[in-house]
């Protein structure tokens, strides 16, 4: 028998809030977390725009050994995971007696790699990078560090799937639990935000250059969008089997009912309509609900001309008119890349819990494709019983998740 999979904890550390309460407020207010970083301009970036959040100060929270092995995105992930575990009511004593796993999305650790090699070049001696470096540089840095810090004993690996990494981590967690291999998994996504993390992405000319108005730069689906704004942080989603959650008396926040995925089988960076559409249809079919039951779509839409248009076509093809409400929270956060698929589940969960849909800010004028969608430019107070979240990445990796509100049945 297949298990039902529920969400019992969420946590966030992002440019629009360092915890769930701050983030809820920002979502409701349509507050942007985008800044212009002059250091990026000096370094050679075409665009100095970025989402920004300070690194947390973990001295006194984590011991020295734990701290020196954590890169920036690992610190972000520690904070979001600590919050999610508290929300889930899971303490260290419970973890020690359980077999809890971790699946986190992360697809780079640029600063750690560059810093280490700068030291080796300068000193001519590898030992001078110190003992923490290797554990900071690997793509699996978040899962290797958090599994050590929290003494996790279940499944333990990192999902690297470009900008759908975070979404696939939740999808894979859902499958592991659904099929009975795990009772509880810490899922999520983390994204570094430092100067070195995005230079080569900037090189593709994919970033907005609306530097005179950072808050206006990320404008998914808007006719006058000119590119995405990179961002980062971390988000955590605790998944459990329904039985496991009920057994320990957890408060259930939502249920994962669909995970659709696909690969475009086409260009490495140019989007397609068919690929995302296939993931959407697969998630809906799996969830055994009708398209009319989905109240809200948190779109992947990053604010690039081609990507948003393709997604708009895919959503329209599947949902028709009038479709569900649509917004892209990237209008406020920028594109949180490896983290986005997880953070956008957290943002949508916060909307579902608090009875509103966050706006797609800067949506001033639709284009031909976005005009066919029910995009909300302003905050709307409304009940969400079910939502869908899209994530797409380089290489044509697509992921769609469907989450339903928990109503004690």
């Amino acid at each position: 028998m297949l298990n039902r999979v529920v969400i019992t904890g969420i946590g966030i550390y992002s440019c629009i809030g360092k915890n769930l309460a701050e983030t809820t407020q920002s979502l409701y207010q349509g507050k942007s977390g985008i800044i212009l970083d002059e250091e990026r301009k000096k370094y050679g970036y075409r665009s100095g725009l970025t989402g920004f959040v300070d690194r947390p100060n973990l001295k006194g929270v984590l011991d020295r050994r734990s701290r020196i092995m954590l890169p920036e995105q690992g610190e972000f992930a520690f904070v979001s995971t600590d919050e999610a575990l508290k929300v889930a009511g899971i303490d260290q004593d419970f973890i020690d007696k359980s077999s809890i796993g971790i699946l986190f999305g992360n697809d780079s650790s640029a600063q750690a790699v560059i810093s280490a090699n700068d030291i080796i070049r300068e000193k001519g001696d590898t030992v001078m990078v110190g003992s923490g470096s290797v554990f900071q540089t690997m793509n699996s840095t978040v899962t290797m560090n958090l599994s050590t810090i929290f003494r996790l004993k279940g499944i333990n690996f990192t999902v690297s799937a470009a900008c759908s990494s975070g979404s696939h981590s939740i999808g894979l967690g859902y499958m592991f639990i659904k099929h009975g291999y795990q009772d509880c998994i810490i899922c999520g996504g983390a994204q570094e935000i430092n100067l070195y993390s995005m230079g080569n992405f900037d090189a593709l000319g994919a970033f907005s250059i609306r530097e005179d108005a950072p808050f206006k730069a990320s404008r998914p689906f808007d006719r006058d969008r000119d590119g995405l704004v990179p961002s980062g942080g971390a988000a955590t989603v605790i998944l459990e089997s329904l039985d496991h959650a009920l057994r320990r008396g957890a408060t259930i926040l939502g249920e994962v009912i669909g995970y659709g995925f696909s690969s475009n089988g086409a260009h490495i960076s140019n989007p397609t309509v068919d690929g995302p559409q296939k993931a959407l249809e697969m998630a809906i079919e799996q969830s055994e609900i009708g398209v009319k039951e989905i109240d809200y779509i948190n779109a992947h839409a990053t604010s690039t001309p081609a990507g948003d248009a393709s997604e708009a076509k895919a959503i329209f093809n599947v949902f028709g008119q009038p479709g569900p409400y649509v917004s892209s929270t990237k209008s406020m956060t920028g594109h949180e890349c490896w983290m986005a698929g997880a953070s956008e589940i957290v943002y949508s969960m916060l909307m579902m819990q608090n009875g509103f849909i966050a706006p797609n800010i800067n949506f001033d004028n639709p284009d031909e494709d976005s005009a066919k969608l029910n995009i909300l430019a302003e905050t709307k107070e409304t009940k969400i019983d079910c939502f869908l979240s899209n994530s797409f990445g380089f290489g044509g990796t697509n992921s769609s998740l469907i989450i339903k509100k928990w109503e004690n049945k």
Binding site: D63, R64, R65, I68, D125, V127, M128, G130, S131, G132
Partner: protein, 88 residues
């Protein structure tokens, strides 16, 4: 440099790097237990010493040092050898 001068230079680095109380460090105290060194921490001890004294430490050199006094003696020997080499 005398061993006292070596100790005065090293102790602040150790206190900062390994985040331990200054009072725990005494010449006769056990180096590994006091600093709570595991195999990875010895790498960081090499970084601290090479960065602040400028000589190369061979892998495994520190593992044979029992007390802080032994440690200061090792560093003193290396520093003095380095000074002699530069004077010649």
């Amino acid at each position: 440099m005398t061993q006292i001068e070596i100790a005065e230079k090293i102790i602040p680095f150790l206190v900062e790097e390994f985040e331990i109380e200054r009072e725990l460090i005494s010449p006769e105290a056990n180096l590994r237990d006091t600093l709570q060194l595991d195999s990875l921490d010895y790498v960081d001890l090499v970084v601290v010493i090479e960065s602040n004294f400028g000589f190369k430490v061979k892998q495994g050199d520190f593992q044979n040092l029992a007390t802080f006094e032994d440690f200061y003696g090792y560093v003193q020997g290396k520093v003095n050898a380095q000074d002699e080499a530069s004077n010649n």
